[in-house]
Amino acid sequence: MSSQAGSARARAFFGAPERWLPWALVVLALTYPFWFDVPPFSYVTLDVLGLKQDVIISMGVYVMLALGLNIVVGFAGLLDLGYVAFFALGAYTVGWFASDKFSGVSWHFASTAVEGAAGIHLNLWIVMLLLAAVIAAIAGVIIGWPTLRLRGDYLAIVTLGFGEIIPDVFRNADKLPVPTGVQWTPPFLDFSNLNLTNGVRGIRQLDRPGFGEHLDAWTAGRLPERFGPTDLEPWYFTIVVFVAVAIFVIRRLEHSKMGRAWVAVREDEVAASAMGVPLMRTKLWAYGIGAVFGGVVGAYYGSFIGSVFPTSFFFNISIIVLCMVIVGGMGNVYGVILGAVVLQYLNVAGLDKIGRAFNQAFGTNETVFAQYKFLIFGALLVTMMLLRPEGIIPSARRKAEFHEAEEEGAPPAGDLADAHREGS
């Protein structure tokens, strides 16, 4: 009771948290690099929490992934278990268009690479924001076109299959198998020697983004000619800008006609199509936009890491991102961000820190925390499902869906669509 009164008083003093919280987070995000390593703040940020800049950047990458998957799963209600495919595709796009992978040619376009270096070197902003987006969108449509006719579990299984296939393709696309007995190959491609991905060896030394020497000189290095491997500040601000733009775009989408159509399709496909919502097109848009998010941030991630390997894109990434969406609160942008921040923090730093604190406190030498990462995540997810299935910060609509059975006068739980299909 008293805490309720207290929170009411706090509310009256600070205003509604929806108002100021986003701005507080913006300020936090924009100033973080300037105080996180300065004592006394660094005691909390670095010594206790271990929030180094690369940790924050990887959290940002997963925030982007979770936001993209949220469009597919949270908005349109399509359970996609193969989201990692688009992430991988984005990273490989950088490998193809901004590295010395294709050393037979030397094509440069506004690139940060050394003049005259072998390989295709396009400007990394173009690769990230345009090529990776377009390639991921095309892949999304190709995958989505046949599969989005399926519903629920069937869609989940098929997307799961695609998520498994894509890393395998990257692993094996260093030498495309030509069936024995096939004599003819296209004249312009030497198929049996076409090496797209270097297989398990991966593609190394990807270009890094940059703003060119003029902007560098003009802004006194604020917009550096080329992002460095050790100075992470430009990388940090890039991902912050990506996330900010993503939030803006998603908020607009959510309240657009398309956003309303997604809700309609999620709630009742039969009714949506009777209202004139084109089902396939609506679902493909969700799937394609989700894919674009995955592709863009995949390209960023590939360039940041500096190399791409097929082993970096295992199925478990799809599941972790899905966990972020579910734990945070499906359909709610801020919930999803919170889910991604918390889970990715635990993933890359938090569990480690907790383990060390545990060992220090009890004088033990346990390594369970890092080793049993997935067990801990699984337990967290199960607990979440039992206690708060709608997520930490749910969207109002999604919350209603999960608590329908408890409401009075709720619609029957059975699938009306199925009954309708069987009816004459």
């Binding site: 006609k257 709630e267 039969v270 209202m275 004139g276 919502v277 009816g423 004459s424």
Partner: protein, 244 residues
Amino acid sequence: MSSENGAALLEVDDIHVYYGTIHALKGISLTVREGEIVTLIGANGAGKSTTLRSINGLHHPRSGTIRFRGEDITNRPAHEVVRMGISQSPEGRHVFPRMSVLENLEMGAYQREKGTPEYKEDLERVYTLFPRLRERASQKAGTLSGGEQQMLAMGRALMARPRLLLLDEPSMGLAPIFVERIFEIVVEINRQGTPVLLVEQNALMALEVASRGYVLETGTVALADDAAALRRNEQVRKAYLGED
């Protein structure tokens, strides 16, 4: 009946529809003219809803043609059919349970520009036909009673400003008082100028409000006549009106 002179609006010609290998419609033909209420009656599984689903593009016939205002719409996808002016209140109502009543009505106008004078006029018209919907505009549709949900489904269909309104079993599962109210509204909608194709199991009520009727039996048209004649027909009385 003056409506009998109206121009043919919808012409269904000998359509055959299959669900997998099941031959659900074996050559259905029917016509709806401007200004009419036409009813499809028949037992469960006779093919009434399948006929509606074929007309609005949710299920395409394997052969035969469907023409609307002279245009062939046999294989048009559902969203194009809606845009051409055929709007449906589906069987089992299918309101969007987690959307508010107003949001449901807005979904009905999905293909149209929102906020235009016509749009506001239509919303006003729906609220006048169904004053209950105005009272409950901000309430979640899933919390409405069955009769109110039916009203919402019909209002939502009207928001598309249809040239032809398809109603699939509007009286299903409703209390008798609501059934009468719903049929009064169907007549009112028609009086305001919208032709209605009405699928009903409640043959008695349907034939009272309709100008013509088709009796479907196992995927074929068994009888087609004026509603008044069908009401007098011995066979119909025995089979559908519950008289011996």
